[in-house]
Symmetry: C2
Subunit: 337 residues, 2 copies
């Protein structure tokens, strides 16, 4: 059915080598030869078979992006940037979801069960220290960690400074005159880096202003979704005296929290100020619009993809860490009363 390199060679009366040269744009081919071959290619409608090429070269041109759930706005935004950045470098992207399942994460880190169909992997899902420890950087396929995993320095790693980001968000609430500040997003089992660091930044900011321990005003959230934020905020509002501000570890948590405040008959920001982290577009249109810490997703995506490409070229590269910039964005949800 489909024409092969050999078919073209036969038709053009040349060797497959010559055809291959023309197809892959090899320099030293006479113009005459090139035209003759090109004509045969066009006549037969020949298209190179990427699988055969891959078998020979060992490169598929495929990257794998692993996220917990692609329909979480932060991750779909990241995916968008990653796919674009990868495209510019000639890669296509396949997506895997872990669904917060540890076993699945472990499995994907080992290369998806089978030997990889991809040249490298961007891992943006959670992973505990233990799961990473099982992975041997020297033997596994090229891997870049995104946003987490500060524990393990054997891997390339693109992230933000979570301690500072959380500190900035909390300080912003303090600057607005809030004093009973709650935090939503610590993990039930503290095994991940990001929530730990955000909690650290949160507490640090409070300490700097002479505010004591705040365990009673902290709430865990398993999945950083709207429902988690809603539940946590509802629980916090039952306390007396109730908090006058909430720092949410993700914008999605914040969206849930905002709704919870209103369902409790209170107002944002008048009664409770709310700030998140991520800067998803949703927060720019919500009522009130959401104050947040904006992460430079394009930077993260570009850095991760180009670093992965470099590591595919040279797997012996020493592991490096890249910190993406973040900016505090004040919107309506933390305005002064």
């Amino acid at each position: 059915m489909a024409a092969t390199l050999r078919d073209v060679a036969d038709r053009a009366q040349v060797s497959v080598r010559t055809v291959s040269n023309v197809v892959s744009g090899y320099e030293h081919v006479s113009e005459k030869m090139r035209q003759r071959v090109q004509r045969a290619i066009d006549e037969l409608g020949y298209i190179p078979n990427p699988v055969a090429r891959t078998l020979r070269t060992g490169k598929t041109g495929l990257l794998s992006l692993v996220v917990p759930e692609i329909d979480v706005p932060y991750f779909s935004q990241l995916a968008r940037e990653v796919i674009d950045a990868a495209g510019h470098l000639g890669f296509q992207v396949m997506i895997d979801q872990t669904g917060h399942d540890h076993e699945r994460e472990r499995q994907l880190l080992r290369g998806g069960g089978r030997r990889n169909l991809f040249d490298g992997m961007l891992f943006a899902s959670l992973a505990t220290r233990d799961e990473l420890r099982d992975v041997n950087p020297a033997r596994s396929s090229p891997l870049i960690l995104l946003g987490e995993h500060l524990f393990d320095r054997r891997f390339d790693h693109v992230a933000i400074d979570n301690v500072v980001a959380a500190h900035d968000a909390t300080s912003h609430l303090l600057d607005r005159g809030r004093t009973r500040i709650a935090a939503i997003g610590a993990q039930p089992k503290e095994s991940y880096a990001t929530p730990l660091q955000r909690t650290e930044g949160f507490r640090k900011a409070l300490r700097e202003r002479g505010l004591g321990p705040v365990n009673a005003l902290q709430r865990t959230a398993a999945h950083y979704g709207r429902a988690d934020g809603y539940a946590a905020a509802t629980s916090l509002l039952r306390k007396s005296p109730r908090p006058d501000a909430m720092f949410c570890y993700s914008d999605l948590l914040a969206m849930g929290a905002i709704r919870a405040v209103f369902d409790a008959g209170l107002r944002v920001p008048e009664d409770v100020a709310i700030i998140g982290i991520d800067d998803i577009e949703e927060g720019r249109y919500s009522r009130p619009s959401l104050s947040t810490v904006s992460l430079d997703t394009p930077f993260i995506a570009r850095t991760a993809v180009s670093r992965l490409a470099a590591r595919i070229e040279d797997p012996s590269l020493a592991a490096e860490e890249f910190i993406a910039p973040h900016t505090l964005i004040a919107r309506e949800s933390t305005e002064n009363r």
Copy 2:
């Protein structure tokens, strides 16, 4: 470096044929043999090379999902379901974005420039009649169209009944006593099926209640995003008398419209009722929560993936059309005044 089938065969003192049988779970292998081979496999840490297997079998186990932008909630939710459904059938999913670029759509429909690295494609982006006409179903790789393209019956097609959905949404607004109903989402150039059908359903519902032509209350929207909804709604509110309801062709348009109404100093639903289509999670937490037409995304994803799998098995299948169910969901944004 990596062990091959032949390495295992040498080590187990058997032929490659036998090893291959064991690996691919062939029935008729003696238990003794199986164990001997399995031991060699484990010792060498052998993993089959999917590329070589693909070259031989012609199947990559990869599906391509094409969307306009993955970070649009409707599409990321669809992607989530598609990836899950594909996983159950042993497929992985790569994602391509068209970014509303016609040339790119055309290119992807032709198989991404190169011959396909995937077994089949789910096309959920827009495409005009012309773009599809260039594609020959018999020669291209297996293709399923999602949600659009009712023009062309040469392809498998999974969609909802857009005319009825739009009719339901509009009727809901009429049932709530609204009389000056606007519509946001027609296309500047009417080349796509979905907006045309929604406009048809919209007008049909108005006609049934004896309401005349409404061109003055229709607004186009190029990309169905929040910004488009905001701009269109703002423009509509300047009319006098102003509309008392807006039917948005997507939930995202509706989110932008809600914000626009409030920025204009008016209230939803008291002054303007708003309804969308899609049922994205965002609309369940927004203020007011968003009335909408819920599409059965899991059904769409499962149907599309299993149909694609079937078509990969048997490319000669006759094209078929699948209609996914939809349900009207009334929330706060269309409550009675």
